[in-house]
Every structure is written in structure tokens, then in C-alpha cells.
Subunit: 158 residues, 2 copies
DNA sequence: ATATGATTTGTTATGTTATAACATTCACTA
DNA sequence: TAGTGAATGTTATAACATAACAAATCATAT
């Protein structure tokens, strides 16, 4: 459990809001937020931090679902496709998105000391990398922007 | 072999220049560019594209070196530490840096169609992500900036 | 209602990427 | 030349991810 994050906001309501948004989104798009998929999203929303696929899988097993790797990866990929989960490439782990409504390119600040991950977001098409790509005629379909380092709280405690 | 890149410049001399730079750097820092390390860097410079660790390992085996995974990973990590090799996180692969002299944050443009990877570079401490991090008091030690998409040449051939 | 096709899930097996742990060799220097 | 730390060799295993196919479920059009 991530105490830091929980101390900063009403995480319970934040979690419920995202879950509602996911249900509404799927309904609107005629996609199915099936029990496995909902369980995975719920797990990530509860943890409020990045989890590896095999941690997800263990959670599914505990919850009574089939626990073979493809089950977890399929649910994760579904959730990534609809923008409610992001993958942290540097950690091979997955994290829920708390503002899936706005079309955004996520930027992650990963603290090596407390393992906390903050998702910032940038306006696609206006950031300098998209501009840099445009200049060379490169058409971006996916951006990975991750910074590893030390967060403010951990710097203060050094 | 990457014909596109080779057609754009004298790759032979570019390769040699970087290798000389690596030797000079190691000498100056009292680090050892041992045969395994040199072989790995040479392989990446020759290919002029990203290689997986196990491709590197196969190359080492062919060249008569020990070919257990740690051998490749240790060499790759040494070369990454001194800035002559970067890891492409989205591909789990490694690529030589052709401008290791300047302190830079690499930005990779990865073409999904021709597999070509272009390394751009941004001035650390002046880019908008470093500024974003600064604003929240986050101290960056490492930046991963990767864009997947389609390069100009491939767009033209669609 | 029921055949039909598409999507989702279950399951087995395997592929791919990376590190732990410890033994051995090598290079340098006291 | 004995001692030290760095580098390499080696075995084993951990961690991450997908291929392939079978079974169940769901949508929907006759
Ligand atoms: Zn997001
Ligand atoms: Zn921290
Ligand atoms: Zn570089
Ligand atoms: Zn291309």
C-alpha cells in the first residue's frame, strides 16, 4: 500500500471514479469490461502503483480466476488499448491511468528511492519531441517518456 | 546490414572514429576496453542498428568468446555506463551511440516499418521534461525518450 | 430457437530477456 | 612474490512474454 499517495487524496473515491469511467467508456464503445478485465483494473487502482504481470496474475489466482500468463497479459493489453493502463517500459510493469479521459501522452517520474511513480501528461502534437519528429518527417504512433530519479520527498529525507 | 544508413555516410570512417573515441575515453578514465567489450562495441557499430543481448551473445560465440548471458550483459552494461551504448527500452535491444562525446539525453525515433532507429539528442536540463520534473522537485538521473512510428522514407513508399 | 461467426477465456507449452551466485583468472602494486 | 581488486567463466534460475489451439460464451440474423 502506498501511504504517500493515499495521504494526498481521497483515493477511494478517485479509484471509484476511474472504474466508473472505464465502465462508461466500454459501454459507449460496445467493448466488454469482463470480470477478468475489471479485476485487473481494480487491482491496479487499489495498489496505486506499478505491478508486474506476474503480480497481477497472482492476484487473479487469489481471486479465483485462471492464472496462466496469457490471462493476465490479455487483460492488460485490453486495458492498455483503451487507455486505462500504461506500461512502464523501464520496469516491465503496469500502472492504472487516473486521467484516461483526456487524450494524452503519459510522462512518468519514477523514484528509485521510494518506488513512487507520478504520471504527468503532455499535450500531444505540441511537445518538443513531436515537433522534432515532425521536422524529420517522422510520424509518431506511440511515445515513451520516462524519467528515473529521486522525488522531492525522498530528496528531503536524505 | 542497414543499407539506408550506409548510403547516407561513410560508415566505415564513422565507425572507426567512435571506436577511437571509446579507446581514448577509457584510457583517460583508467577504464579497460577489454577484448569482450571491444568486440561488443564493434558489433554494434558494424550493424548500425539495435541488437538484442542474445544476438550479441551469438556474435561473441562466433568470435570465440565465452557465450554465457552474463558475458554479454556485463559488456553491454559497461558500454552503457560510459555512454557508448544505449538501450532501447521498447525493444529490449541495444544500439551504439555515434556522438558519445557530448553529454546528451538520447531520443530515439523507431520506425515500425523498416526497423530503422534514428538517434536524436536533446540538451539535458533545457528540455521541457527536465523542466517539468524540476517544477515538482524531482531530480532526474536518467531519461528514456522513445517514439515509435513511421519514418519519412517509409511514409513516402506507402 | 437455433445456426453461425466472432470474441473471450482456458490451457499447455515454449520462447525471450536478465540476473544471482560463486569459482577462476588477470593485472597491478606493496 | 604475495596480496588486492577487477574482469571473466560458468552453472543455474528468475522474470517477462507469446504461440497455438481448444472450449466456452455472446451477438445476431435467419
Ligand atoms: Zn495516463
Ligand atoms: Zn521517492
Ligand atoms: Zn547517444
Ligand atoms: Zn522506416
Amino acid at each position: 500500500m502506498n501511504l504517500k499517495k493515499n495521504s494526498l487524496h481521497d483515493h477511494n473515491s478517485c479509484r471509484q471514479k476511474v472504474m466508473e469511467a472505464a465502465k462508461a467508456y466500454c459501454e459507449q464503445k460496445r467493448l466488454k469490461l469482463t470480470p477478468v478485465r475489471e479485476a485487473v483494473l481494480n487491482m491496479l487502482l487499489n495498489e496505486h502503483q506499478a505491478l508486474g504481470a506476474y503480480e497481477i496474475l497472482e492476484g487473479l489466482r487469489v481471486a479465483g480466476f485462471s492464472a496462466q500468463p496469457p490471462v493476465a497479459y490479455r487483460a492488460l493489453n485490453f486495458l492498455r488499448d483503451i487507455g486505462f493502463v500504461h506500461k512502464i517500459e523501464q520496469l516491465n510493469s503496469y500502472i492504472a491511468c487516473y486521467h484516461p479521459d483526456m487524450s494524452h501522452s503519459p510522462v512518468f517520474l519514477i523514484c528509485q528511492s521510494c518506488n513512487d511513480i507520478t504520471e504527468k501528461s503532455i499535450d500531444r502534437h505540441k511537445d518538443e519531441f513531436s515537433i522534432m519528429a515532425d521536422e524529420t518527417g517522422f510520424q509518431i504512433t506511440n511515445l515513451v517518456l520516462e524519467a528515473k530519479g529521486t522525488c522531492q520527498a525522498c530528496l528531503a529525507n536524505l
